[in-house]
């Protein structure tokens, strides 16, 4: 495979990886904010869903009560923002890095909770999912994907810059001739 073809394949994989990550984050935010019963979407229904998410955050026994509600109200909008940022592809190195850090944090919290033997709901994609081995494997895979996208974004950026510099130097050389 030539360098050009490999570069093209890398870009496609990077596109797929970031779309999957964006989908995961947007879906996670949606699942936390959607009405949890058969009521229509409204500001009140979102508030209720976030208050319910706060109970899941609290069950991790990680944050003081005063910070639980704040974290529960900030996290889903942050996930939504990050999802759309990834989807846009703008500043991919930075969005991918932010995603890796956030997924890494989630993974660390889940590993700690599992090690402590707490039998709680994960809350990762809304209520109802019990935290267990499957959660660990799934979130570990998300972390792997986020890391791969971050590394890929940096590599593609560097390759693109090198190409640009090579073109500029060729043009300069032609001008000099």
């Amino acid at each position: 495979m030539t360098g050009e073809k490999r570069f093209g394949l890398g870009r496609i994989l990077l596109l797929l990886g970031r779309l999957v990550l964006a989908g995961i984050f947007i879906f996670a935010a949606y699942a936390k904010m959607k009405p949890q019963t058969e009521v229509p979407w409204s500001v009140a229904s979102v508030r209720t869903s976030l208050a319910m998410f706060a109970m899941q955050v609290d069950s991790y026994q990680l944050l003081p009560t005063g910070y639980v509600s704040l974290a529960a109200h900030l996290l889903p909008p942050a996930e939504l923002l990050l999802g759309f940022w990834l989807l846009s592809g703008i500043g991919l190195r930075f969005s991918a890095l932010a995603t890796t850090l956030l997924v890494g944090l989630f993974f660390a919290v889940i590993v700690r909770t599992y090690a402590m033997g707490l039998e709680i709901n994960c809350g990762c994609f809304g209520p109802g999912e019990q935290l267990g081995k499957i959660t660990l494997v799934r979130d570990g895979s998300f972390l792997g994907l986020a890391l791969a996208v971050t590394i890929g974004a940096f590599l593609v950026h560097r390759a693109g810059r090198n190409k640009m510099e090579a073109r500029v130097s060729v043009t300069d050389a032609q001008r000099a001739d």
Binding site: F27, T37, V39, T48, A54, D58, V68, G89, L118
Partner: protein
């Protein structure tokens, strides 16, 4: 002009397509499940043995919020949930008619004495003294969980005459006995829990004006649960 829009439009279209599939998957809800048959059997057996349904509820059934909790008397998280959440909730929102609390037994097989503790609690519920026995069992969990002497703490929670009544009801409920009349109620609670499904204790299901929320599990502080209740009551 750069070619920027032509590069991102297909990517966004693919992304939105994936998102639509995910949202459709989420919107699909399986149909409601029927009431467990074992609950009906328990009621029939109770009638046959001259027992009424043990009252393990707190507050008014007409309260806007209903909380069904599935608990194991020997589980430390259930104790934390009772002491840190249910007790202050009973003193506040249950007493003020905002919440109707329903206790369901879900003794886990890994706890040697939890089924027997549930039998005692059901016997106390039969004479309307569930609240006292529940408090005594959780307050002294470590002690009776160590030696299995549940009777001592039930006796301490009740008046001598009430304790005699409970003791009489507990005839045939020795730890290894299979003829205890309260087993049907406990089994009915377990069957109901399995339908939720309860995978760990404590598990709680909150309903607001008939709308049931997905089950939650693990200990939650009363402050955080109250905020959730307030958001429901403020709707």
């Amino acid at each position: 002009m750069t070619g920027f829009p032509y590069t991102w439009r297909p990517k966004v279209a693919v992304g939105l397509g994936c998102l639509t599939v995910l949202v459709l998957a989420l919107v699909w809800q399986p149909g409601a499940k029927a009431q467990p048959e074992s609950r009906v059997r328990a009621h029939m057996q109770a009638a046959h043995e001259g027992l009424s349904i043990p009252v393990k509820t707190f507050g008014s059934p007409s309260a806007p919020i209903r909380l069904d909790e599935f608990s194991d008397f020997q589980c430390p998280s259930c104790r934390a949930f009772y002491e840190g959440t249910l007790r202050p909730m009973m003193a506040d929102y249950v007493a003020r008619g905002k919440v109707y609390l329903v206790h369901h037994d879900f003794p886990l097989p890994m706890h040697a004495h939890s089924f027997q503790a549930a039998r005692w609690a059901n016997a106390a519920a039969e004479i309307g003294r569930f609240e006292d026995v529940e408090a005594a069992l959780f307050d002294n969990q470590e002690s009776w969980a160590a030696d299995g002497n549940i009777e001592k703490y039930v006796a301490g929670a009740l008046s001598p005459s009430d304790f005699k009544k409970v003791q009489k009801l507990m005839a045939g409920c020795e730890p290894n006995s299979h003829s205890c009349p309260f087993d049907a109620f406990i089994e009915a609670d377990i069957a109901l829990g399995k339908q939720i499904p309860v995978r760990a204790t404590p598990t709680y299901v909150i309903s607001y004006k008939g709308q049931k929320f997905p089950a939650g599990s693990g200990a939650v502080s009363w402050d955080i649960m109250r905020q959730f209740f307030d958001s429901l009551l403020g709707q």
